[in-house]
């Protein structure tokens, strides 16, 4: 697959930053949007903006139909059994908070929740809050030397006390892909449920929630070429029916009196208030875009970029790549001897190259690694090997100047 014909579909990439052509390597933070997604947003506002599920008029009907088509597209995309298992959220963070918050009422002080050292703050803090409220204990899966999850330690942590295992599909900081299929199987054997933080997984890894058999899978639209402010929480129907609603308001009710309210059916029970209609609708365009190119083809291209970047970085004497996992999504995280990651980020930015520096919202991991932070370059389908070469060349200049 050549990235170049696709690249022209991303208007933002065709610009100069600090008088240099933009090289966008911050895709793990958010991916850029193809023209078709941007057009879908303006088309909605220009032609059929209406509130969904409520109106009897024509535009409301069109908006509702499009809105629900996205639900079906997501269902297909992750192969969920029922479309009512697809809950629209604002993003991965809200999805995890929804699951953790609603799950809290099922926890008791003897229970345990397992997370891992690789987690983003958004898959740590909601569980800390659940633990504080319920009295349950939080346990953390340690890492091996390659910075993969220590599966032997995980097996030993599981017990009948374990009620929830929450881990990511892939690490946002260092790219490690976790063996979630095995994690889920082992958790289920112990009688626990599993939530997968799919923030970094969904755009890069094939995701079949039925095959995985996960109980929850949370992800964001904006990391898969879709708009910001829309995400998905997949939950197994039986579990979503069992847990209480998250927010109260319109849409999520069946009948309201001042004495008692009965809740709406799935998925509306979890979708209180007017949803983010425009972004939900444009998310379908992003999914269609990905499906049309082919997830395998995208993954293959990104993997080639990752290998090229990894090899090039390994050739730089002062650079150390963080994490030697066998399988990574297209994220490479590194440090350079004697140079603060922030300085590398600023230096590269002066050359029009956008990377992320710092702790990447994974402070426990960065503390464990005993580094000041890392520089993270993350690739998407529109990036090229030439861009990586330009990045390496400028990184070398930076090291020469500052190292």
């Amino acid at each position: 697959m050549s990235a170049l014909p696709l690249r022209s579909q991303f208007p933002i990439l065709n610009q100069q930053v600090n008088n240099k052509p933009l090289v966008y390597f911050d895709n793990a933070a958010t991916a850029q949007k193809p023209k078709c997604v941007i057009d879908a947003l303006s088309n909605y506002y220009e032609t059929f903006n209406s509130n969904v599920h409520r109106g009897v008029h024509t535009l409301a009907g069109i908006a509702t139909a499009h809105f629900e088509q996205t639900r079906l597209a997501v269902q297909q995309f992750i192969n969920a059994k029922y479309n009512e298992e697809i809950i629209f959220t604002h993003g991965t963070t809200e999805g995890i908070n929804l699951a953790a918050s609603c799950f809290t009422s099922l926890l008791s002080p003897d229970d345990e929740i397992i997370i891992s050292l690789l987690e983003h703050h958004s898959n740590i803090v909601p569980w800390q809050m659940a633990a504080q409220k319920s009295g349950a204990k939080l346990k953390v899966i340690p890492l091996t030397e390659a910075l993969e999850l220590d599966m032997e330690a995980y097996k030993k942590m599981l017990s009948p006390k374990t009620k929830m295992v929450a881990v990511n599909h892939a690490s946002n900081s260092i790219g490690t892909v976790n063996p979630i299929q095995e994690i889920i199987k082992l958790a289920h054997q112990a009688g626990a449920l599993v939530l997968i933080d799919g923030g970094q997984g969904i755009a890069h890894l094939p995701t079949d929630v039925q095959e995985l058999d996960c109980d929850f899978y949370a992800f964001s639209g904006h990391k898969m070429y879709g708009p910001t402010g829309v995400g998905i929480l997949y939950g197994k129907k039986a579990i979503l029916e069992k847990i209480p609603p998250y927010m109260g308001g319109g849409e999520m009710i069946k009948e309201v009196t001042f004495e008692k309210t009965t809740y709406n059916d799935l998925p509306y029970k979890f979708e209180a208030g007017t949803p983010n209609i425009a972004d939900v609708i444009a998310l379908k365009t992003a999914i269609d875009f990905i499906v049309e190119i082919g997830r395998k083809e995208i993954a293959q291209h990104e993997n080639e970029l990752l290998l090229h970047a990894t090899k090039s970085l390994q050739n730089l004497p002062k650079v150390k790549i963080i994490g030697a996992a066998k399988e990574k999504v297209s994220i490479v995280s590194f440090v350079a001897d004697g140079i603060h990651p922030f300085d590398i980020g600023q230096w590269l930015d002066a050359q029009g190259i956008a990377v992320r520096t710092g702790h990447h919202c994974t402070q426990p991991l960065i503390t464990y690694l005993n580094v000041e932070g890392t520089v993270r370059a993350s690739f998407a389908l529109y990036n090229t090997k030439e861009e990586i070469d330009f990045f390496i060349e400028n990184l070398q200049h930076c090291i020469k100047k500052l190292g």
Binding site: N18, N19, I339, H340, P341, F342, D343, Q346, W347, D349, A350, Q351, T357, G358, E372, G373, K401, L402
Partner: protein, 139 residues
Amino acid sequence: MKTDPQQEEIIQEFELLGGDAEMMITYLIELGQKMPSMNSEDKTDDILVKGCQSKVWLKVSREGDNLRFQADSNSAVTKGLVSILVRIFNRLPPEEAAEKEVYFMERSGLSRYIGTQRSNGFGAMIKQIRYYGLAYQIK
């Protein structure tokens, strides 16, 4: 707003670089290199400025009626930034340090690409300096 000779001087220095990002960052790093480093035993956690991606130590002492600032950072770029602040705020009476407006970022062109976003902690450094200014008025 009053013009400040120190900041006007800084703006002129950066204007000479013609808005070239690489030259600006190089100059910023040079400014940081020129500022004497603090002794490692002085770089204690209690004088760390909170809210920066890198570590910034900011030490204040009295010199007659005025405040004297010393600063350091483990980031070369941030050290350059804080060295400019030291230049602006050094040897001011506490009342002035607490009140002084910082405007050079916009006019020097630095804000366009260094930005004042939270990652470089620029706002946090100024806040800390002003806080010292307030605290020393009471002492």
